[in-house]
C-alpha cells in the first residue's frame, strides 16, 4: 500500500496486508514539579526593565519549575512510573522504550550525550527486555516517537512500547531573564517555558478496539532556522532564540492543508473531531490559530481547542500527554472521543495523530500530578 502517493505528509492510515494490527494509546502518565512560578514572578526576575505584560500576551498565569534533585532524568522516570501504574502492562512487557526529550539533564545541568538517556530510564523502571534509543524532534519529539511505535506495532514487529520525555527546560527561562530587554527579543518565548515529564504506553489494540486511526508528519524545512537552542556561552544551561512571529505565520499558512490531508486519510471531517490538542505555546496563539484553521477549512471541531498552557506553560515535548492526563482525570475525555494531537515544533515540524479513545484508556482512574 503506497500511502505517501500524492501526499505532503508521511502518512500511515488504514490497514493492509503489511499492517494487520491497530495501535492504541493504552496509558498515559505525567510528572509535574511542585514549584509553581507565576508569570509575574518571572517578569520580576528579568535583569532589564522590559515593560512586557507576558501574561496578557500569552495567557500563561503560572508554570512549574524543577526543584532540588529534579532534572530531565527524574521527570522522565517519574512520568514513566506513573504511566505504568495506570497501565495493564508491567515494565518487563515493554518491547521498546524511546526517550524523546529535548533536554537530557542528569545530576543538575549536565546534558547527557552518551549513553542515551533511554538507557538510564530503562534501568530505573526495570524495562529489562526493551530495545532503547533516544529520539529528538524538538517539541514534536514525543508524538514522533508515537509515530514510530505506531508503525512497529501495526506491522506486528512489537506489541508494546513506551515513549517518555522529561523536560527540565526552565534553565532557558532563567537565562533568558538575564537577556530579554523588549518585546521583540528573540528570547521572549523562553520565558513561557515550564518543566514536566510525560509518558505514554502504545500497544497493539485488542481485536475490534479503537486506537490510532491516522498519523502523519512532515518537516517544512524552509523554516528550520526559526528557533535554535544550544548550551549557553555565558552560564550553565541553555539559551533559545525564536522568531515567534515567523513560526506563527508559517503555521497559519501551512497547517490547514496538512490537517486536511490527515483528516482525509482518516476519512474524517474536522467536525468529526471531539478534541484538538495542539502544542501549547500560548493560549492566545492557540485560540487565534484554531480560528484561522476553522475559517480555512470551513469547519470546526466539536469543542474548543484544549488549553493547558495557562497553568503549566510550554512544557516542550510533553505538552500533548500532559493535556491528555488532565482530560482523563477531569472526565472530559470519554470512550469513543476522537482526538487530534497536533504537533507544531521547531524544524518546522508538523504532525497529526488522530486517536479514538477506547474503553480501557477512558476507564483509568485519577492521577496524582
Amino acid at each position: 500500500m503506497a500511502e505517501t502517493e500524492a501526499r505532503w505528509l508521511l502518512m500511515e492510515a488504514g490497514g493492509s496486508d503489511a499492517m494487520p494490527f491497530r495501535a492504541r494509546i493504552e496509558s498515559v502518565g505525567r510528572r509535574l514539579p511542585e514549584d509553581r512560578v507565576t508569570t509575574e514572578a518571572v517578569m520580576r526576575s528579568t535583569r532589564h526593565r522590559t515593560r512586557i505584560d507576558l501574561e496578557r500576551l500569552t495567557g500563561i498565569r503560572e508554570r512549574r519549575w524543577v526543584g532540588d534533585g529534579e532534572d530531565s532524568a527524574t521527570l522522565a522516570i517519574d512520568a514513566a512510573r506513573d504511566c505504568l501504574r495506570r497501565s495493564a502492562h508491567a515494565a518487563e512487557d515493554l518491547d521498546v522504550l524511546i526517550v524523546c526529550s529535548i533536554t537530557k539533564y542528569r545530576d543538575g545541568l549536565a546534558q547527557q550525550m552518551e549513553p542515551p538517556l533511554s538507557h538510564h530510564v530503562r534501568q530505573a523502571i526495570g524495562a529489562d527486555r526493551a530495545q532503547v534509543f533516544d529520539l529528538s524532534n524538538a517539541c514534536a519529539g514525543l508524538l514522533t516517537g508515537m509515530f514510530v511505535l505506531n508503525d512497529w506495532i501495526r506491522r506486528g514487529q512489537v506489541r508494546c512500547g513506551m515513549v517518555v520525555s522529561g523536560e527540565d527546560i526552565s534553565s532557558l527561562a532563567r537565562n533568558a531573564a538575564k537577556h530579554v530587554r523588549h518585546i521583540l527579543s528573540k528570547e521572549l518565548a523562553s520565558l513561557t517555558l515550564g518543566d514536566a515529564g510525560a509518558a505514554a504506553i502504545v500497544d497493539r489494540a485488542p481485536e475490534g478496539s479503537e486506537g490510532i486511526t491516522a498519523a502523519g508528519f512532515t518537516t517544512l524545512a524552509a523554516h528550520s532556522r526559526l528557533c535554535l537552542a544550544q548550551p549557553s556561552e555565558r552560564e550553565p544551561g541553555a539559551r533559545m532564540r525564536t522568531d515567534s512571529r515567523g513560526i506563527h505565520r508559517a503555521a497559519i499558512e501551512d497547517l490547514p492543508p496538512l490537517l486536511r490531508e490527515a483528516l482525509d486519510a482518516a476519512g474524517l471531517q474536522l467536525h468529526d473531531i471531539d478534541w484538538v490538542v495542539p502544542h501549547q505555546t500560548s493560549a492566545r496563539a492557540i485560540r487565534k490559530g484554531m480560528a484561522e484553521v476553522a475559517q480555512a477549512l470551513g469547519d470546526e471541531p466539536r469543542h474548543p481547542a484544549v488549553v493547558t498552557v495557562d497553568r503549566f506553560g510550554n512544557t516542550a515535548s510533553t505538552t500533548h500527554v500532559v493535556a491528555l492526563v488532565e482530560m482523563l482525570e477531569d472526565g472530559r475525555l470519554r470512550a469513543g472521543d476522537r482526538v487530534a494531537l497536533v504537533a507544531l515544533a521547531s524544524g518546522l515540524e508538523v504532525g497529526v495523530l488522530v486517536v479514538t479513545v477506547d474503553e480501557h484508556l477512558a476507564g483509568r482512574d485519577g492521577h496524582d500530578a
Binding site: 508521511l10 550525550m113 532503547v132 524538538a138 528550520s224 521547531s346
Partner: protein
C-alpha cells in the same frame, strides 16, 4: 519486498569542519551516486551525536534537509514532502535508523529514505579533547520488489559495562581573562575506558550468538561480518567471530558503520551470501543487522 541499500558515501573532513556540513556533503555524494534528486526523499533520519555548538533544537536533520533542498516549499494539496528527525543511539544509531526506515518502507509509507551520520568537534572552547575524526556518511535506502536487503535487526544492552563510554556537556568554571568574560563554559567531555575493546568484543560475541540463535542461524551461515573499526574494537570482533570481515571507518564515530557498509558494497560483499552488520556503542549497546543478497 525488501529494504535495500541503494548507495552509501563517506566524506572525511578537516579538523575545522562541522558535522552539519559533513552530513550535507555526504548526502549530496550519496544522491549523486544513486542518480536520485533530494526531492525524492520521503524520510531523513540523522543519527550523528556531536555537532556545531552542541545544538539541541531543532533536530539537526531539519537543518540538513533545508541545506540539501529536500521539499522545502509550502505544502500544496497533492504535493510531496520530506519528514526528518534525529535519533541518538551512539555508534549503533545508523542501524537503529535503518530499522526505523525499514518499518516505514515495509508499511509502504516510504519509498526512499536517507540515513545520515556525522560527528565533529562542536567548536573552539566547547569541548575538551574531542576524540573522534570529523567524518560524515549517508546511506540511501529504498523499497525493492526483490527479496533480500536488510531482513532482521536486533539490539541488546549490557548495562554491566555502562560506564565504559560516557559523554556529557557540563558547566566547567574557568578563570576570567577579562572582567566581562564568562566565569566558565559549557563543554563537551567524552570519557572512554581502556576496557572498551575487551568488554565490547565480549558483548558483541554474546549479542551475535543470541541474534543468530533467534533466527535459527549459525556463524557458518554468515558470509561476511561488517563492523566499524572503532579504535581496534572492529578487528577484535571479527577475529573473535572467526568469519571474513569488512572493517572500516577508523576514528569515525556514528559514521563508522556506514563507512564499513560502503567498503562492503565496493568489495561486492553485499551481492552474495548473508552479511552480518555489528556495532557496539555506549551502554554497552550492541546492534546487529542481517543483510541478504538480493534474489
Amino acid at each position: 519486498m525488501g529494504t535495500t541499500l541503494e548507495a552509501v558515501r563517506v566524506v572525511a573532513g578537516r579538523p575545522e569542519d562541522g558535522a552539519r556540513r559533513l552530513a550535507d556533503e555526504a548526502i549530496v555524494a550519496c544522491l549523486d551516486a544513486a542518480g536520485v534528486g533530494a526531492t525524492e526523499v520521503d524520510l531523513l533520519v540523522n543519527c550523528g551525536i556531536y555537532r556545531e555548538g552542541n545544538l539541541g533544537e531543532p533536530a539537526l536533520a531539519a537543518l540538513i534537509q533545508q541545506d540539501v533542498g529536500a521539499n522545502l516549499g509550502h505544502p500544496p494539496v497533492g504535493g510531496h514532502g520530506t519528514f526528518s528527525f534525529d535519533i541518538a543511539a551512539g555508534a549503533c544509531g545508523p542501524l537503529t535508523a535503518m530499522q526505523i526506515v525499514d518499518g516505514f518502507v515495509r508499511s509502504g509509507a516510504v519509498r526512499r529514505a536517507l540515513v545520515v551520520a556525522s560527528d565533529a568537534d562542536p567548536g573552539r572552547g566547547r569541548s575538551l579533547g574531542f576524540p573522534y575524526r570529523p567524518v560524515g556518511a549517508a546511506a540511501l535506502l529504498s523499497r525493492s520488489p526483490e527479496a533480500g536487503g536488510f531482513t532482521a535487526f536486533s539490539a541488546q544492552l549490557f548495562p554491566e559495562h555502562a560506564d565504559d563510554v560516557r559523554a556529557e556537556v557540563r558547566w566547567e568554571p574557568r578563570r576570567r581573562r577579562f572582567p566581562w568574560s564568562a566565569p566558565g563554559h559549557n563543554v563537551l567531555v567524552v570519557d572512554r575506558s581502556p576496557a572498551l575493546v575487551a568488554h565490547g568484543t565480549e558483548s558483541a560475541v554474546k549479542a551475535v550468538g543470541r541474534t543468530l540463535g533467534e533466527l535459527g542461524l549459525g556463524l557458518g551461515d554468515i558470509s561476511s561480518v561488517i563492523t566499524p573499526e572503532a579504535a581496534g574494537l572492529g578487528a577484535s570482533v571479527v577475529a573473535e567471530l572467526g568469519r571474513p570481515g569488512v572493517v572500516a571507518g577508523e576514528g569515525a564515530h556514528t559514521a563508522g558503520v556506514l563507512a564499513a557498509l560502503a567498503r562492503a558494497q565496493d568489495e561486492g560483499r553485499l551481492d552474495h551470501g548473508r552479511a552480518l552488520v555489528v556495532t557496539v556503542s555506549a551502554g554497552l549497546h550492541v546492534s546487529c543487522a542481517v543483510h541478504e543478497a538480493p534474489r
